[in-house]
Each structure stands twice: as structure tokens, then as C-alpha cells.
Symmetry: C2
Subunit: 186 residues, 2 copies
């Protein structure tokens, strides 16, 4: 039983690693479950049973890469975690997302394309949107927090991340997002 | 020669109308050039030669539906056209886009999915972004107008349009976009 679980965890890591490698090498269009399985050295059935589809694969890979941020905002130390003033928590969170997006642009683009029919129901997006909405409500109770949260997270649109980092690197993405948040919350 | 041009124009209108009808009835996934040709009553070759691909079809349909706005900002009367103060022109333009997006949500979604790999190079988006950037520069010369223009246009993301209009109708979309612009330009 323990051996099976260990195998499953190892397969999962191999599949996610293969997906990431293929994304960086080829872009999302050419990635199929077959190719991921072959690259990871597992059967196609294993990939299919665990992830269901390309969309599931990209969603899970993003959730995995964002797991550290999710833990930090839930129970980490300030300014990301509970305890810091909401404005600082928000700016700290946006900095983390800027770093994540700049480092994982191929994944962000693939995830966005795969989820294009319904971005808002992706589990990672839902988590981010819920966190940002809650913090905005604390800072500015009369704002349309739901809308402003979508707007702030819109900065991590793949085309925009690519454009901003191409003209100013990760710093421009971070500064742009911070200044947007500051303008919206004054 | 005149007859041929008239035929071409009539075919173009029939193809765009068929695309729009199919979008509203079925959503983007099931739309193919074959189906559009059959619905419009023209040969597949005609659709292919004129539009090239599904992406070309959705880009052209959006450009067609946005043609009135494009003319109004170029040479129409104020507040959309030249002559009004830039802040008023911007708010007027965003109102028009809100109306366009709310009325053409199926098209906005299809266009976004088809252009997902490179939204920023779509001709209609380029025109809108250029206009908004220019107006922001006039209102606030020290702002990152390029970034703020992408952020403002991000409000017309299909999922966000669907979400906002489902909870407050076209009015919420218009008010949200206006208040975002006002917050960013004070």
C-alpha cells in the first residue's frame, strides 16, 4: 500500500516534470497526453486516469507550482500570511504571483489557453480570487472587491506577462501590478 | 466587375451573419469553415479564401461589429471623436466597448479563444489599445499608459463580461469599467 502510494507520487512528479519540459521546449499546441506519457516513461492510461485531459494536466501543474504561495497565505508568516495589515498582505501576494508568472510563462500561457472557455472556475484562480477579494474588502469595504480582484489578477494574463517582462523584466511586472493595486486602493 | 464586387460583398455579409448565428446557437467549439459555408449558402473555398481560418473569421466579425466605434473615434463628433477632452473621450469609448461586449458576448468569447495564443496582435485590439494609450498619455503624461490601457481593456475579457453582466447587466460592466478608469486617472 505504501509502495503503491510512493509509485503514484513518483509518477505524478514525473508527469508534471515532463509536461513542464515539453511546454518550455514546444509550447502548448504540440503537447498531447501520449507525448507526456512517453516523455515521463509511464503509460498513457496513468496520465489519463490521474489528470483526465490536457486542461487537467495544466491546471494541476499550475496548482503544484503555486502550492507554496497557497500555504504561505493560509498559514505562513507575514506579510503573506495572517497577521500583517491587509494592504501589505495584498502587495506581498501580488509580488509572489508576479514572480511565479514571470518564471512560468509557458505554463501560464498553456493554462490560459486550455481554460479559455471558463477561466474563472479553475481551482487556482478561484483560490487567488477569493484571497484578493477578502483582502480588498478589509482595506476598502465599499469597493466592488469582486471586480477589482479580477482586474488585479488580469495582470497575470499570459500575453500581458510576456509583453511586460519583455520590456522591463520581472521588475516591470511587479511594479505595474503594485502600482495598479495602490491606485485602486487609495 | 461591379457585379463581382457586389457578389463578394453579399457573400461576405452572408458569411459573417452565418458565423454570428452559429456562435449564438452553438458556441465556438462546433463552428467550422464547412458549417459556416453551408449555413451561408456559399462554397467552402469562398470562406477559406476570404477569411483563411476560424480565427480570421472571428477577427473579421469583431472588426465588422466594431467598425462604427472605429469610425466614431477617428472622425465622429465628441465625446467619442476628436474635440472633447481626453478623459471624456476615454470614458465615452469605454461605454461603447461595454455596450459592444455585452451585446456580442458569444463573439467576444469565440474571438478570445481563437486569438488566445496572441491576443495583442489582433487588429481590433491593436486599434483599441492605441486609442486608449494615446488618451491616457494626454490625461496623465507620467503614467505607464501602455500597461494601463491593457488593464482597462482587460475588463472586456469574455469571462469577466459574462460574470459582470450576469450579476448586474450591462450597467454593471459600464459602471465597473468607468470607475476603474476614474480610479486609474485621478
Amino acid at each position: 500500500m505504501v509502495v503503491e502510494r510512493t509509485d503514484a507520487a513518483r509518477n505524478r512528479r514525473a508527469i508534471l516534470r515532463a509536461t513542464e519540459e515539453l511546454l518550455v521546449q514546444h509550447g502548448p499546441e504540440r503537447i498531447s497526453l501520449d507525448l507526456v506519457a512517453a516523455t515521463a516513461g509511464v503509460g498513457k492510461g496513468t496520465v489519463f486516469r490521474r489528470f483526465g485531459s490536457r486542461t487537467g494536466l495544466f491546471q494541476e501543474l499550475l496548482a503544484d507550482r503555486a502550492a507554496g504561495i497557497r500555504e504561505a497565505i493560509g498559514s505562513g508568516s507575514p506579510p503573506l500570511g495572517p497577521g500583517a495589515p491587509p494592504r501589505e498582505r495584498l502587495l506581498g501576494f501580488l509580488d509572489e504571483l508576479a514572480q511565479l508568472a514571470a518564471k512560468n510563462i509557458a505554463l501560464i500561457a498553456a493554462h490560459e489557453q486550455a481554460c479559455a472557455a471558463d477561466k474563472h472556475s479553475d481551482p487556482t484562480y478561484l483560490c487567488w480570487h477569493g484571497h484578493v477579494t477578502g483582502l480588498i474588502r478589509q482595506v476598502q469595504p465599499d469597493a466592488d472587491a469582486d471586480f477589482l480582484a479580477h482586474t488585479l489578477l488580469g495582470t497575470f494574463d499570459a500575453d500581458l506577462v510576456r509583453h511586460l517582462t519583455a520590456h522591463g523584466g520581472e521588475a516591470r511586472l511587479r511594479v505595474s501590478t503594485r502600482s495598479l493595486a495602490t491606485a485602486l486602493l487609495r
